[in-house]
Amino acid sequence: MSRLRYIAKRVALSVPVVWLGTTMTWAIIYLGPIDPATRLLSEGQTQNPAAYEAARTQLGLDQPPLQHYFDWMGSLLTFDLGQTWLLYQGSDVNALILDFLPRTLWLGFWSVLIAVCIGVPLGFYAGMRSNTASDYVASMGGIVWRAMPNFWLGIMLLAVLGSSQAIFGFDWQSLWIELDALTGSPDLSRLHTVEGFLAATKKVLPAAIVLGSASMGNEMRIGRTAVLEVRNEDYVDLARAKGVSERALVWKHIFRNALIPLVPIITSEAFLLIGGSVLVETVFSINGIGLLFFNAATQGDLPLVGTLMYVFILLIVGVNLLQDVLYTVIDPRVGLEGA
């Protein structure tokens, strides 16, 4: 019961976070040094006062700032996001986001999943066999893997996969599921079919591995430390003295406790993925929301930047809430103390 109350409290607390984030975004974009209206006009039009005025009116900048702020917030809250100005000119922003966001989420999903599924077991394995040869190999591997920069790893991976026939003797592109190209956006329209799912997965796999590489290394390191710490707890010794089998000791008594410090690591890395996806989406030419944001920012489509910021804020708050839910599932102490 108190766990539900705890979650409800966290949801309520995220409202001011969203408000603060969007307000700051609005202030930076519309009160900042760059006039959004000018940025939307082409070179020639900036000299044209009529076109400039028209742009200002359409952006609502002719209103008093407070009025504009409320309008803007209102349209965000109701997801009435309007049309784009510069990038994909005139298209519906809602449609644009619905088109681009799933690709990024798909990429993010796999990169978190791969990192968790490889990093955590490897870290736990190293922690259970601390200071043995296999621990050293796993730990060193983790550090090296962690240290490789994304852009470099991405390019190297593409180079290797591109000539996989010569290096490994099989062709990655036609392995298992035929891909149309090594890079590019995954086709998410056929996810409900087995083949469509596999194809879309295989397409983002290299990008997901690159994007999750740093997280994988971190999770492994933290996982190792967590297991080492929990292994030496009195309650583990007491369980052993009680006659609990080695297997139950590891799975029941050690792992669940070792997962607790990993939860914030995994979720905080989900944030990094949102930022990191810009780079990886560029290298692997995936039309995701990271790439969209990057293009909007560099080309000066400030209204779109603001809207995308709002989407990012919602994503981050959502991940935070997910973290709280995970906590309450794993750790019974959460929500009972100080809640």
Binding site: S130, N131, N232, E233, D234, Y235, V236, D237, L238, A239, R240, A241, K242, G243, V244, K252, H253, R256, N257, I260, I330, D331, P332, R333, L336, E337
Partner: protein, 328 residues
């Protein structure tokens, strides 16, 4: 009472390997416990008493290793990796109850786990038995407590739950490693009473490991005084308190409140317990011993039998060395 001791520890050697040296945390500890007996192992922190306790249950953590001696449980040597066969026969209670229970499982879950392993109880039967055990150890409102998590219990209640969990294994010997040190004084007394009660009811043997001579006096029949990894004196509790034979025992006794003049400051033993890194070549207590004499620095004392079954490892009692016990 049979002739064979329930547990007999002989010349136990536990060595911790660090990068630079080998630390002999336990260096030839010998003592025994008979069925239903309460034996104390007393010494300062760093004397090797906790390592001895963990050794008995095969719980010595890396980089420590049992490198010699025997731990005979009903005549069977546990050090030959026989712990698995005797899990539950020997249970242990640690100093800090808040660390002794797994924080992510309910009290009931952890007691029922032991009941399943040792008494083959499951489901409703296990829960009912767990509630009974909690009631036995004096936890009020046990049917509700059984579903609570460790952090919802106070220190004293958690220690009772740990004892209940130990009892669920149906042990013959309960090793209590400083079971009351982390608790308030009033709670300490309650836990000691509880242990005495359980012992009387269940004919349980108890090994008390503590630095607290007061606990030893209240709770035990027989005492082993441990110093720097060795037992230096063994005696029936009463005899030991009446006539301590070893200078270290005397020093420990003087540090109990109320035994010396109440107006005087409590004497403490100057200096620290040394950590032995090699075989003894002298008396390890010599640097702190008020009664040390020349031989103490060149001869390692052996146990000398005294009246009754008692013995002490001090050259003062070695007739060949110290003119019949005359102090210098």
């Amino acid at each position: 009472m049979s002739d064979e001791p329930l547990l007999s520890v002989r010349d136990l050697e536990v060595v911790f390997h660090t990068e630079r040296e080998r630390i002999h945390a336990v260096d030839g500890v010998t003592f025994e416990i008979r069925e239903g007996q309460t034996v104390g192992l007393v010494g300062e922190s760093g004397s090797g008493k906790s390592v001895t306790a963990r050794s008995i249950l095969g719980l010595v953590d890396e980089p420590g290793r049992i490198e010699g001696g025997e731990i005979l449980y009903r005549g069977e040597d546990l050090t030959e990796d026989n712990w698995a066969d005797h899990r539950g026969d020997i249970a242990i209670v640690f100093q800090d109850p808040t660390n002794s229970l797994n924080p992510v499982y309910t009290i009931g879950n952890q007691i029922e786990e032991a009941l399943r392993i040792h008494q083959d109880l499951r489901g409703r039967a296990a829960t009912d038995r767990a509630i009974e055990l909690l009631e036995d150890v004096g936890i009020p409102d046990a049917p509700r407590r059984v579903d609570e998590y460790p952090h919802q219990l106070s220190g004293g209640m958690a220690q009772r739950a740990v004892i209940a969990m130990a009892l669920a294994c149906d042990p013959d010997l309960l090793v209590c490693d400083e079971p009351t040190t982390a608790l308030d004084v009033t709670i300490q007394a309650q836990i000691l009473d509880l242990l005495a009660e359980l012992q009387a009811e269940q004919d349980l043997a108890i090994l008390f490991i503590t630095h607290d001579m007061g606990v030893i006096e209240d709770a035990t029949d027989w005492v082993n005084v441990i110093y720097a990894g060795e037992v230096v004196e063994r005696a029936p509790t009463e005899a030991l308190f009446d006539h301590p034979a070893h200078p270290y025992t005397r020093a420990l006794l003087e540090s109990i409140p109320g035994r010396t003049d109440p107006d005087e400051r409590l004497p403490t033993i100057e200096g620290e317990v040394p950590t032995p890194t090699g075989p003894a070549t002298d008396c390890r207590f010599a640097p702190r011993c008020p009664e040390a004499f020349e031989d103490c620095r060149s001869v390692a004392p052996e146990h000398v039998s005294l009246d009754g079954d008692r013995s002490a490892a001090c050259l003062l009692h070695d007739p060949a060395r110290s003119d019949g016990g005359e102090r210098q």
